[in-house]
């Protein structure tokens, strides 16, 4: 990634003439503007939330519909929804990725169909996932407003990102791995489990982290699948409010919930920024390592 960027930047002549300078200044101005807005958002959230943030805020149950108390039970629901989504989506997604990368030739009709329908799935708006989850998991399968139906809905949403990251990771492995395994007389399945998947582990983990980030950010798909109840969930069939839904409810439906909403938004954004940064570092660090070893 880094190599190509710098190569073309160096190949470019410098700017001269007023057209050139105008273009250069506008491009710099846009970059500055967007960086400033990013910092503005982070600064606003930090300023509004940091005072309210404490260990007791993270651990206590919410009181008075969230105006007081903390977000303890909400964090538990968030983690439960996330776990269900991952337990369902990981095996499915990674299996589909192995199929697409290792068993199907790139021009085949089956691979074409699967890849295209996953791309469409990635473009489906989250509110539509919410409608589907409500109709299928909550009502048709009778799971009601529960952590289970919320988690399953999220699992459907995560499939495309898990498949595409894992498939890209497997495709990036050098073909010598495969031919060496064949030369050793390993079967195809053994090659996948003992050679290819372990070698692609960084890409799998990067995809997993991106999926966790996507799932924690989700609100619209959970509004009418996992619901609004802010008590500590007793079982997976209880309704549970995730952190993102909590922020929405505090800021829209609850007068006087702004301080708690600021603090919750700060918690969510810090966790997400860390997860996403880690995922990106893993993805790029892994590519750099590969260039050196080959």
């Amino acid at each position: 990634m880094g190599k190509a960027e710098t190569a073309s930047a160096r190949a470019m002549p410098s700017s001269n003439g007023w057209h050139d300078r105008l273009a250069e200044w506008s491009v710099y101005a846009v970059a500055l503007l967007i960086s400033a807005v990013f910092l503005w958002i982070l600064g606003d959230l930090a300023r509004g939330g940091i005072e309210h943030l404490s260990w007791s805020f993270l651990l206590d149950p919410p009181q008075n519909a969230g105006r007081g108390g903390g977000i303890g039970s909400i964090l538990v629901s968030t983690i439960l929804v996330l776990l269900i989504a991952l337990v369902v989506a990981l095996p499915l997604g990674w299996a589909a990725a192995v199929m697409l990368a290792e068993y199907v030739s790139s021009g085949s009709r089956f691979g074409y169909t699967v890849r295209n329908s996953l791309q469409i799935l990635a473009a489906v708006p989250s509110i539509v996932f919410g409608l589907f989850g409500n109709a299928f998991f909550s009502i048709y399968l009778g799971l009601g407003f529960s952590i289970l139906s919320g988690g399953l809905t999220l699992a459907c949403m995560l499939l495309p990102i898990l498949v595409s990251t894992a498939e890209a990771g497997l495709r990036a492995l050098p073909d010598t791995y495969r031919s060496s395994a064949v030369a050793l007389g390993m079967s195809r399945a053994a090659t996948v489990f003992h050679v290819l998947l372990p070698a692609a582990a960084p890409a799998l983990v990067a995809g997993l982290l991106l999926g966790i980030g996507r799932a924690m950010a989700e609100t619209a798909a959970l509004l009418f699948t996992s619901g609004y109840v802010d008590r500590m969930p007793g079982s997976l069939l209880d309704s549970g409010r995730t952190l993102a839904v909590h922020i929405f409810d505090l800021s829209m439906n609850l007068p006087g919930g702004d301080v708690a909403a600021h603090a919750s938004a700060l918690v969510l954004i810090v966790v997400l920024l860390l997860i996403n940064l880690l995922a990106m570092e893993m993805a790029t660090g892994w590519q750099r390592g590969k260039i050196v070893t080959e």
């Binding site: 930047a9 506008s26 048709y140 007389g185």
Partner: protein
């Protein structure tokens, strides 16, 4: 032969076939998900679609779903205005960002800025909505009350789709062959004339595909828009008017909708889904050429 504690050869052919079948089933499930979603959207909207002609969704006098009036047109116009406005702003900003990363910034600055754009893409829509609600809406309110308006929706959507435009445009710029750049530089063209005359025409298809994908994202975005646009069912005449989008309407009314009202919301969900599929097919066709 390999002698190891685990038998890593999986010598029996039946294990191999079993695993192949498991993989096939998993990919089948993954691929069938879109059809399952379409099926359930259709099944839930059919009771209403059978009852009334489809044209009534745009010709009815108003949106009073409990009294049998199902005019979705104001919500459609709200969705299109908000998405169109956001695209109008995000396209130049996104392309300029991609140019900055690819051709203007020093390598270190380019890396940091690209990372920042990727992080911008990871901020949850509910956080964008909350920030806009507490910061942008009061600002717009001072300019022109009530503040919660089409303008607020356009601005927050711009921020949300900008990473899509910028990252796809950057990928398209990187795909322009280096020989083009070197040839143009050898002809003595300046940086901006190379970008305008060589790079952008060569990357046109990829950039367009990215803009179309961003349009899909803008049309389907729910939470941020729901929180800042005021949610009044009406055709906006200025950017300061409050509006309601299709997606926001679903999120607002789904909790209490019953019977035909619920079916009407599924019809609007089906509309969103079909719009997104149409946009995706257009982007895929352009991307392939």
């Amino acid at each position: 032969m390999i002698w190891s504690k685990r038998n890593i050869l999986f010598p029996s052919a039946s294990v191999d076939t079993l695993i192949l079948w498991l993989l096939r089933i998993a990919s089948g499930i993954a691929a069938g998900m879109v059809l399952l979603i379409l099926f359930f959207l259709l099944a839930e909207s059919l009771p209403l679609l059978r009852e009334i002609p489809a044209v009534r969704f745009v010709t009815d006098s108003s949106w009073q779903p409990t009294e049998g009036a199902y005019n979705l047109a104001p919500m459609l116009s709200g969705t299109l205005y908000a998405a169109g406005g956001a695209l109008f702003l995000a396209t130049p900003l996104g392309i300029a960002s991609a140019l900055f990363v690819a051709y203007y910034a020093l390598p270190s600055a380019a890396r940091i800025y690209r990372r920042l754009i990727e992080l911008l893409a990871g901020i949850p829509s509910v956080v964008y909505g909350f920030w806009a609600l507490t910061t942008l809406v009061p600002l717009i309110n001072e300019l022109h009350p009530p503040g919660a308006s089409l303008l607020a929706g356009i601005l927050v959507l711009t921020l949300m789709i900008l990473p899509t435009v910028a990252l796809t445009a950057h990928a398209a710029l990187l795909a322009v062959p280096d020989e083009y750049l070197r040839g143009a530089a050898a002809l003595g063209m300046s940086r901006w004339s190379i970008i305008r005359g060589v790079v952008l025409p060569a990357a046109r298809m990829g950039v367009t595909a990215g803009i179309i994908l961003a349009a899909g994202r803008a049309i389907g975005e729910t939470m941020a828009v729901l929180m800042v646009t005021g949610n009044v069912v009406q055709h906006a005449s200025t950017v300061y008017d409050p509006i309601r989008t299709l997606a926001a309407n679903i999120a607002l009314e789904m909790p209490y909708a019953l019977g035909d009202h619920r079916a009407a919301l599924f019809v609007s969900g089906l509309m969103l889904m079909l719009l997104v599929i149409a946009l995706w097919s257009a982007a895929a066709r352009i991307g392939r050429n």
